[in-house]
Structure formats: C-alpha cells, structure tokens
C-alpha cells in the first residue's frame, strides 16, 4: 500500500489527515507515507497540474495506490474504512451519526473561524500587505473556492467585527467540547474512544493555541482543558506536529501573540 499526501506542514486540514494517519499506524512522514510539500506562499496549490488532481485548489490531496482523494473529512473516513485496526468511528449507528454531526459542525464553524485570525494576524503581514488592490483582487479571482472570503478580507486581513465573531465561534466550539467530554464521561468527545471528531478539531484548537488565544478557554472549561492535555499527550499528536509544523515557525518574522496584537490593534 502506498500513500502519498500533497500537503503543507502548517495547514490545519493537512494536520487533520496527518493525525489520522498516525492513529491508523502510519505516523512517520517519508517512511510510512510520502509527503509532497505544497508551498502555499508560492501558490503551488493553484498550478494547472495541481488543479488537475484537486479542482478545489486546496490542500490536502491523498493518493492511495494511484486513486486520488480530496477533502480532509472524506479522506479521514476513507482511512478509517480501509484500515480497520484501531477504529476511529463508533460502531453504533446513532453514535456514528453523533460523531458525523460533530464533523459537520467542525467544518462549518471552527474550520472557517480559525482562518480569520490566521489571516489577520499572520498571513496578511507575511504575504498580502505588499499587494496592490489589483494584485489582491486578481489573486482572489484565481481561487476555485472561497473567493468571497478573500474579497471580504482585503490585504490587511479582517476587521474587528470579523475577528471578534471568529473568537466567539471558537469559544462556542470549546464550550461544546467541554460539555461533550463532561456529558460522555470523557476523555474524548464521544466518550472513551478517540474518534474522527477529536482528530478533526485537534489542529484547529492547536492553531488558536499557537496564535496565543488559549485565554479563550483557560481556567474556565476544565473538561475541555483535560481533553486538550490528553490530546497533546497522544503519540499521534506529536507525530502530526513535528518540528516546523506550526504557523509560528513558518513565519517567525511576523509572529506576535494575540495579546501583543490586541494591545496595539485594539482587537
């Protein structure tokens, strides 16, 4: 079995797949699976060659024995089906539907929300501030998905209302993790089994942590904090977040904590 992953070290959706690969017994990049690093800063995800395998122009894309798979949520379910050992999905159909409702929530709410501070605090200063209006507009035009996200943003990232709403959505996610862990008895979102819901939300919470937003949950949500500590202790987490995998390491020259940015910017 050969698994190749077109990915980016610091992309949260690539991290979702890497943590799942590690959980399924394939932890090591370039040994258990082959990595093809896509440099998002050089827009390698928008080349005609890459768009042929992934028409959405996003990472990751997985190639399994020649078959092309896209969409991180679909890829992780596929991995869980073809490698039955250490199942990451509940056997009971109602619990499985509960996990999938979590997956849909993760896609709609925190996945979208973390892009806002990521762009406002890191990618705008690292990549876009030097663009003219025309350059920025023509960049947005090239994207098969999420054009409006870029058009709403401008080169400076997002404004106060957008950043505050994103923080509110992350706080809601953390509260829901907290309630799920408390309600199902923990240590994981669905109870005693680590599932795809944990695998998908892990990189989003880690991104917020990396950007300095741990204050959104620290000291207030004990169930969620116990979940995060257990997550960070898992071998799959360490395999996924190898050195250089965090956005603070990718752009150290522009990195400042959320608190430092808020002191200056006001939000």
């Amino acid at each position: 079995m050969t698994i190749e992953l077109y990915q980016s070290h610091h992309s949260t959706c690539s991290q979702k797949v890497r943590i799942t690969l590690a959980e399924k017994g394939l932890p090591e990049k370039d040994k258990d699976w082959i990595a093809h690093e896509i440099n998002l800063g050089k827009f390698e995800h928008l080349t005609p060659e890459y768009l042929k395998i992934n028409p959405n122009g996003v990472v990751p894309t997985m190639i399994h024995d020649g078959a092309v798979l896209i969409e991180s949520s679909a890829i992780v379910e596929y991995l869980d089906e073809i490698i039955p050992e250490n199942p990451l999905t509940p056997e009971d159909p109602v619990a499985r539907a509960g996990m999938r409702a979590w997956m849909r929530y993760i896609e709609e709410v925190p996945t979208v929300a973390v892009r806002v501070p990521t762009f406002a605090n890191m990618l705008a200063p690292a990549r876009y501030l030097k663009y003219s209006d025309d350059e920025f507009a023509s960049h947005a035009d090239r994207l098969p998905l999420r054009k409006r996200f870029y058009q709403r943003m401008t080169q400076k990232g997002f404004g106060e209302a957008d950043v505050n709403y994103a923080k509110e959505q992350i706080r809601q996610t953390c509260e829901r993790i907290d309630r799920a862990v408390e309600g199902h008895g923990g240590p994981w979102i669905m109870g005693d089994r680590f599932t795809l819901a944990d695998a998908l939300v892990a990189s989003l919470i880690d991104r917020m942590d990396d950007l300095g937003y741990a204050y959104l949950w620290e000291g207030e949500l004990p169930g969620m904090e116990a979940w995060l500590a257990a997550l960070q202790d898992r071998p799959s987490f360490r395999a996924c977040f190898y050195p250089g995998a965090r956005i603070s390491e990718r752009y150290p020259e522009v990195y400042r904590t959320a608190r430092e940015i808020e002191a200056e910017r006001g939000y």
Partner: protein, 259 residues
C-alpha cells in the same frame, strides 16, 4: 420503529431528508416548524438541535441532526435501496461531493433566497433592535444575517458570487455525468449526492434562475429532468413547498410590479 421529522415545508435541508425518506419508502411523522414565530429557537427545540436549524430526525427517541448526517444515517439503518457506493473509494468520492455541496451551493442558494424573499418577508418591517435580538439568539450563522442586514440585503458582489457558485456547481454536475457516463452524478447508481443537490437546484429553478444552466449544460439539464421524474421528487415537494407557491409575490422582478 418510529421516525419523526422536525422540518419546514420549504427549507432545502428539510427537502433533502424528505427525498431520502421517499427513496427509502419510509413512513414518518411530521412536525412542521415555523421560522416566522421562532419555533426553531425555543429552549425545547434547542435541546433536540443545539444549532437551532431544521431538520431534526427522531428515531426511536434518539435525535439525529444535520441533513447530510441524517441521510447517511437513514442509508445505514435502511440499506435497501442503497444510496451509497459499495466500495470505500466510491464512498470517499460521494463524501467529497457532499462536502462540496455543503460548502458551496448550500450557502450560495441562501443569498438570493434571503435577498428576494426572506429578508423582505421577515426582517424589513422589524426594528433594528428586534433584528439584532433575533440574530443574537442564533447559535450558527450570525455573520450571514449581519452581512445581509435588515434593510440593505446582500451586496451585488455577494449576489454575483452566489450565482457564480451555483454556476460552478452546475458545471461540475455536467462534467461528472460526462465523465461517469451518467445517468447520475456518480454513474449508474443514484446516490445521496443526487438526493442532496436536488432541493438546491429546485430552489434556483423556482426563483427563475434556470438560465444559469439551461443554455449550455445539456447533461446537467437532462439530469435535473430525470430527477424531477422520480416519484420521490413529488413526494418531497408536496403542495406549498416551493417559494413561488408560498411567497410568489416576492419573486416578481421589480420592473414587472404594478405597485
């Protein structure tokens, strides 16, 4: 076993589930919620569905939420006739289509739907305070309502983008049928992606947007004709489930209005 559905006649996500129930030949008990009176935001309903949206399926007392999850659940507990490919790769292709359907056309159809019908119907005559109080109660999609606004509606750029997203969806359906040979999106088998895209395309057709696809996407146009010929279509779209039937006066283009 008992199936109950909390839904709304004209909500596209409710329609996705009703088509699936009809394809499976299942009987179900109906609980219709009215958005105008805020039925979806009551404490009792939020206990079943913390996202405060329709639909919610109750199966033997257990709530199942999210239309994409509900249709997959129904396909698992009632495997005949199957609406998912039998092999893992086929299922992954189905699921990547489902994720695209949720991210792109599902939010896109809300933009003209709200601009042309729901905003003037529900929000235009509310006060700014009432509007903000209503939005503040919504567990999801607050930003969508704030971008729309009570009076202004979505900008031209938002509308253009939504129409472009629907066009992209139609192009992808057309290309998929050419690649697989059809008659359905994944080939021979009618699947959950045909089920869940149907109400979105029907909503656009109902609002008069067929020119987005009809002139130059013959495979997609023929696919939609085949969809409408299935008995499940008439069962899911019973009387007064289309916006044109319920709120037709809002759909008349400005230039053709008498008043």
């Amino acid at each position: 076993m008992g199936l109950e559905l909390y839904h709304s006649d004209h909500s596209t996500c409710s329609q996705k589930v009703r088509i699936c129930l009809a394809e499976k030949g299942l009987d179900w008990e109906s609980h219709v919620l009215h958005f105008a009176t805020g039925d979806h935001l009551t404490p009792e309903y939020l206990k079943l569905n913390p996202n405060g949206v329709v639909p919610t399926l109750i199966h033997d007392g257990e709530p199942v939420i999210e239309s994409s999850v509900i249709v997959e659940y129904l396909d698992e507990i009632h495997p005949e006739p199957s609406l998912s490919p039998a092999d893992a790769l086929g299922r992954a292709r189905l699921r990547s289509w489902m994720r695209y359907m949720e991210e792109v056309p599902t939010p896109a159809v809300r933009v003209p739907s709200f601009n042309r019908v729901f905003r003037p119907l529900r929000y235009e005559n509310a006060t700014e305070e009432e509007f903000e109080a209503r939005v503040a109660k919504m567990p999801l999609r607050k930003a969508f309502y704030r971008r729309m606004g009570r009076i202004d509606g979505f900008s031209e750029a938002e509308m253009d983008n939504a129409i472009a997203q629907i066009r992209q969806t139609c192009e992808r359906i057309d290309a998929a049928i050419r690649e697989t040979g059809g008659p359905w999106i994944l080939g021979d088998q009618y699947t959950l992606i045909d089920v869940t895209l149907t109400p979105l395309i029907q909503r656009m057709a109902d609002m008069g947007y067929t020119p987005i696809w009809e002139p130059d996407l013959p495979e997609m146009t023929a696919w939609f004709e085949r969809i409408k010929a299935r008995p499940s279509f008439d069962q899911a779209f019973y009387a007064n489930t289309n916006l044109s039937e319920k709120y037709g006066e809002y759909l008349i283009p400005e230039e053709n209005r008498d008043d």
